[in-house]
């Protein structure tokens, strides 16, 4: 059993999704919900041994699985996790439970299909984080988009077609270049699709730069980095709450993960060469997007823009080539999973009651929803990077790492301390504080047990990671150090 944990992590949710789908129409909605929850919990339970049994001293892949898939092209079903990817599998499985619970009473139409889409997507995304074969990765990478398209397209808001189209347009070019890059690597490596083998393949600087740029386009769209970020606010606004949670908590991490799995180890020399470019784009994301977030009138757009700024910290951390930077970035990714997931859920809680996301339609929510206001305060503070919440740890590590890299880079990055607090707390003030603004707010009922449980669990995670981040980072050390050693050594053939 323990040899197939990763396969289980991928296929249990997918299988559960198919079973849920088989329950059919909305007459069986209660059954579909229960099955979906069971599937999500089962999927989460099988990922726990990955963390518990993880050997923190080992830098390489663990829980590896290898069998041939298409022998003719040397394509294998090759799975494995290291200190970089393991936590994302656990996080993904965890968020799936949150998402199923988040849609429990809210989604009333096509319940089975809705839950199935999320379960299948969860399995596919675990596939992305664990694939060690280029083709397998590509298949999962592209396939995971279909459920997301459907979630936005079927359960989305009024402008969902535009949002989905924009998303498509962005990914089109990225996927194309990514595929070409994979094929080029297949040829260069002498007929292998093994990602680990590609890490060792010598490449000229020119080839590395072209590969790096191809990866950059593919991954930058997913992160998303400035200036290819404009699909995200639209996608979030149109997506249902569950879709936004998955999009923010997991889907954005795929691109960032790609940088660590592909760009840095496969093209280390080009990564060093072009690091200034990525650092510059990251800082633009942090500073520019911070200002843009400030003036948003739609809460979801505001949090979406703040996600882009937070992901700017991630790419910045990666390309400083220091342990603090990369680990800080990874911590930021996990924390962002909890915090932005919770932020979108909070907005969903209000949207379910008032059917508006406009800040101007609220005011004085604390008077009618005190419990909600307290929890929303915690997540807002985490979003603003307050110490003792997870949001602080990653920012702290990246900023401190940046001072060593370059004082002015740190200066620009640290400005998010002010801007992050400004846009988050200004929104909080206008939505939560003050007198009851209108009759919608006056009629609000405080969060029920289900909503309280979801936010409570996420709050516990946020505080745990803020007060004691060591368990999260100790699993990363060996792999991150190995990656740094690898990136420092040139791959240009002599």
């Amino acid at each position: 059993m323990s040899n197939h944990l990763l396969s289980l992590a991928i296929w249990i949710p997918i299988l559960a999704g198919l079973i849920v789908l088989a329950t059919g129409g909305d007459r069986n909605a209660p059954l579909a919900r229960i099955l979906a929850l069971l599937g999500a919990v089962a999927g989460f339970v099988v990922t726990l041994p990955l963390w518990a049994g993880f050997d923190i001293a080992k830098a390489g892949m663990q829980f590896e699985e290898l069998s041939t898939w298409i022998p003719r092209f040397n394509i294998n079903y090759h799975l494995g996790v290291d200190g970089i990817s393991m936590l994302f599998v656990v996080l993904n499985a965890f968020i799936t439970i949150i998402v199923v619970a988040a849609g429990w009473e809210v989604i009333e139409k096509k319940v089975a299909q809705y839950n199935a889409a999320f379960l299948i997507m969860s399995g596919l995304m675990n596939g992305i984080f664990t694939s060690l074969d280029g083709v397998l990765f590509y298949v999962f990478f592209e396939a995971s988009l279909i459920p997301l398209y459907l979630i936005i397209g079927v359960w989305g808001g009024p402008n969902r077609v535009y949002a989905a189209f924009k998303f498509f347009l962005y990914t089109l070019f990225g996927s194309l270049l990514f595929l070409i890059a994979l094929l080029y690597l297949f040829i260069e490596s002498g007929g292998s699709f093994s990602i680990l083998q590609w890490h060792q393949t010598p490449l000229t600087l020119t080839a590395q730069i072209w590969l790096f740029l191809a990866f950059l386009v593919a991954f930058a769209v997913k992160v998303p980095m400035w200036p290819v970020h404009t699909w995200l606010p639209d996608a979030h606004v149109e997506a249902p709450t569950g879709g936004s949670i998955v999009l923010a908590a997991i889907a954005l991490k795929l691109g960032a993960y790609g940088f660590l799995r592909f760009s840095l180890p496969i093209a280390p020399d080009a990564s060093q060469e072009l690091s200034t470019l990525v650092v510059a784009l990251s800082l633009i994301a942090v500073v520019y997007i911070g200002f843009v977030a400030l003036v948003q009138a739609d809460m979801k757009k505001l949090v979406a823009y703040s996600s882009i700024a937070h992901m700017g910290f991630v790419t910045l951390g990666f390309f400083m080539f220091s342990a603090m930077g990369i680990e800080g970035a990874l911590v930021q990714m996990i924390s962002h999973g909890f915090v932005s997931g919770a932020m979108f859920f909070c907005i969903g809680v209000m949207y379910d009651r008032v059917h508006s996301r406009q800040i101007a339609d609220y005011g004085g929510v604390v008077n009618t929803m005190p419990k909600f206001a307290a929890l929303f305060m915690l997540f807002s503070m985490a979003n603003a990077g307050l110490p003792a919440t997870s949001g602080f740890v990653g920012e702290f590590m990246v900023i401190l790492g940046a001072v060593k890299y370059n004082f002015w880079v740190a200066f620009a990055a640290a400005s998010s301390m002010i801007m992050g607090a400004a846009y988050t707390l200004w929104m909080y003030k206008r939505v939560i504080f003050g007198d009851v603004a209108n009759e919608h707010v006056a009629e609000l009922s405080d969060i029920n047990m289900r909503e309280f449980a979801i936010l409570g669990v996420l709050a516990a995670c946020t505080l745990w990671m803020g007060l004691y981040p060591q368990p999260f980072t100790e699993v990363m050390h060996a792999s991150v150090n190995e990656l740094l050693r690898h990136v420092a050594a040139s791959k240009i053939p002599m």
Partner: protein, 678 residues
């Protein structure tokens, strides 16, 4: 081993109280909330006393509790450093906090948020203790931001008041500007020392004294100067130094007990504590100390001026706090760190006393805060009157009272200091003595003496306040001000007891403390002064011959006569000839307008920074995202793809056709490459 458990108990007892009162604030009765939190703080205070005695016996401690994080070569730990500086701060924090907790029972008794309030102030006590007990920069920063959070929650405690929720956001954001500098300073420390542990950093620092870094262009800057100025920017935010002082007067929107605890006695002094803790770093940069002394001097004098024209009783005390924080900062700049801590301590007692007394007056006046509506209260509120008088006398530096010893030491230190800017600082603190005496006794006379101006029919609702203090939504604001004919009344014992208990140290602590704390070796090995480069304190101590002699000597020094002049003048102006201040105000209306607008800091911040940020945000959003990226690039490509797609549409229909299109091209490229290779 036993002592280490006690160290843990000090912050955890208030935290426990805060959690119980906070999580169950809707279910537990009021007496449970205040009992559990007061018990928590009382335990912390008792343990602090034991620890203080233990430290005096020579037992210090520096060790970690748990490893928070490791990354690369760096280890971050949560740990305690217990020495005389920490123990002093622990005593001050827990004592004032205990007084404020007891006082709150009386002050907040009609408030629906009673339990929540107790939870917040206990959480504050925990955060402040974590800050002062820390043995490293990371935990310091944690405590630093945590007290900021609680301050935010408490300023906005009455969350339906527009002014309160504006003030709390402003406080948090201005503090974040300071923290922005602070975290860069911490980053520089980590980069160059390789650790954030105080002891290790201070040991390593002297080696770095000559190090320069290249910050801008080809100019080489002293590393220590840049680091210390970055750290001090953090202190400027928290300790409200010009120009980051703007949040403190507005923080008076919070309930009075927290104005005493957070915005006078403890949190705002965190910056002073931090710089004293970092004395081994600041001693390495005279440039940074010059920066510190000039900022402190500006704050001390110019914020004092603003205290003269305030009519809200809490705002007078708030500007007085700003001015006194400036004094402490001047002491830091003069390398008299022990004097700064000494003034921090005496100030904590008499300023908490003054704030709580002001709160007592506010209760007596039924939540009217305008001193123009008061007068003659001494008849009705004798305990409040006497304790206020003691507090005011201590504040203005009456010989033998607490404030005298600490403030005079600061003036002396500024006089002897030889660093650039110290001349201006000496002038500022000296002039400040007169100003302090004038505004303190202006308030005192207007509140407690003279004609009784309260309870007049046309008066009950005639207080022009900033914003709408009299927001009828808040339960206890229903009766705002005294009804016609109604008389003020003395407050219950839970309110007056803390006043009396705080009045005692306000009288004696200076006389007791100056010998050991400033002249003795109480802070030996804790606060480091480079006596060669910065001899101010040493020269002052050459003239020091004991507390009694210093008190007697005061009668022949300028500060005493300046303070006396301030008191006499305020008596003459506000008791004898009230027409004179009115005439002055008319005559110098330009200056009055400048003061009234608080030197236009708020206007500048609102238009330039807040307005500028919104403008920039709109420009980036509408100009960058919407017009250029979406308008030109995305929609342009969309039209192009639309063109291509209109052809392929013949083959593929349905919603996911775009996706299939990608795959087709992929396969096409695959085949091309495959064939070319073969």
């Amino acid at each position: 081993m036993e002592m280490q458990k006690l160290y843990l108990l000090v912050p955890l007892a208030p935290l426990f109280g805060a959690i119980v009162a906070g999580l169950f604030c809707r279910v537990i009765p009021r007496w449970v909330a205040h009992t559990v939190t007061i018990a928590g703080v009382a335990i912390a205070f008792a343990a602090s006393v034991v620890i203080f005695k233990d430290v005096l016996a020579g037992n210090t401690f520096n060790g970690s509790v748990y490893t928070w994080l490791t990354s690369g070569d760096y280890t971050f730990e949560v740990g305690f450093l217990i020495d005389t500086l920490t123990a002093t701060m622990m005593l001050v924090v827990t004592f004032v906090s205990l007084m404020v907790h007891i006082y709150t029972i009386g002050y907040m008794q009609e408030d629906p948020g009673y339990n929540r309030f107790f939870s917040y102030i206990s959480l504050f006590t925990f955060s402040m203790l974590m800050l002062v007990m820390s043995n490293n920069f990371m935990q310091l920063f944690f405590g630093w931001e945590a007290v900021g959070l609680v301050s935010y929650l408490l300023i906005g405690f009455w969350y339906t008041r527009p002014t309160a929720i504006f003030a709390n956001m402003k406080a948090f954001l201005v503090n974040r500007v300071g923290d922005f500098g602070f975290i860069l300073g911490i980053g520089l420390v980590l980069t160059h020392c390789g650790t954030l542990d105080y002891a290790a950093v201070f040991q390593k620092a002297p080696e770095l004294a000559g190090t320069t870094i290249n910050i801008w262009g080809s100019a080489e800057w002293s590393l220590m100067t840049v680091t210390c100025i970055c750290l001090f920017i953090g202190a400027m935010g928290k300790s409200a130094q010009v120009p980051l002082h703007v949040w403190l007067p507005d923080s008076m929107e919070g309930p009075t007990p927290i104005s005493a605890l957070i915005h006078a006695a403890t949190m705002v002094t965190a910056g002073i504590f931090m710089v004293s803790r970092m004395s081994p770093l600041f001693e390495l940069s005279t440039t940074a100390l010059s920066f510190v002394i000039v900022i402190g001097a500006i704050t001390a004098l110019f914020m004092g001026f603003l205290g003269i024209i305030q009519n809200d009783i809490k705002r007078v005390v708030a500007y007085s706090t700003l001015s006194q924080l400036g004094y402490m900062t001047v002491a830091l700049g003069a390398s008299a760190y022990s004097v700064a801590i000494f003034h921090l301590m005496t100030h904590a007692f008499f300023k908490a006393l003054l704030f709580l007394a002001a709160g007592s007056v506010i209760i007596g006046m039924h939540h009217d805060q305008d001193i123009r509506n008061m007068g003659g209260l001494r008849k009705y509120m004798p305990i409040t009157w006497i304790t206020s008088l003691i507090g005011s006398l201590a504040l203005i530096g009456t010989p033998f009272l607490a404030g005298f010893y600490s403030k005079d030491s600061i003036i002396e230190a500024a006089k002897f200091s030889n660093i650039p800017g110290s001349g201006f600082a000496y002038f500022a603190v000296l002039a400040g003595v007169f100003v302090t005496a004038f505004y303190s006794f202006r308030m005192y006379f207007l509140v407690f003496h003279g004609e009784e101006r309260f309870g007049k029919a046309d008066d009950a609702h005639h207080h022009e306040h900033h914003g709408d203090h009299d927001d009828e939504e808040v339960a206890h604001d229903h009766h705002h001000g005294l009804a016609p004919g109604e008389k003020p009344h003395e407050t219950p014992w839970v309110v007056t007891l803390p006043l009396v208990l705080l009045a005692i140290p306000s009288v004696v602590i200076g006389y007791i403390g100056i010998g050991p704390m400033v002249a003795g070796d109480f802070f030996k090995g804790v606060i480091h002064v480079d006596a060669q480069a910065h001899p101010a304190l040493a020269q002052f101590l050459e003239h020091f011959h004991g507390a009694a002699a210093m008190g007697l000597h005061a009668f022949s020094t300028p500060p005493f006569y300046l303070a006396l002049a301030g008191v006499v003048l305020s008596w003459f102006f506000y008791m004898k000839r009230p027409d004179i201040p009115a005439a002055i105000q008319r005559r110098f209306s330009a200056i009055h307008t400048l003061f009234e607008n608080k030197y236009y800091f708020d206007k500048i911040n609102e238009t330039v920074f807040a307005g500028g940020a919104r403008l920039l945000g709109t420009a980036f959003w509408k100009g960058g995202d919407v017009a250029v990226i979406d308008g030109v690039v995305v929609n342009g490509s969309a039209r192009f793809v639309g063109l291509v797609a209109s052809v392929t549409r013949f083959f593929q229909t349905g919603y996911v056709y775009h996706y299939a299109f990608t795959m087709i091209i992929g396969v096409f490229v695959l085949m091309t490459l495959w064939i070319n290779r073969a």
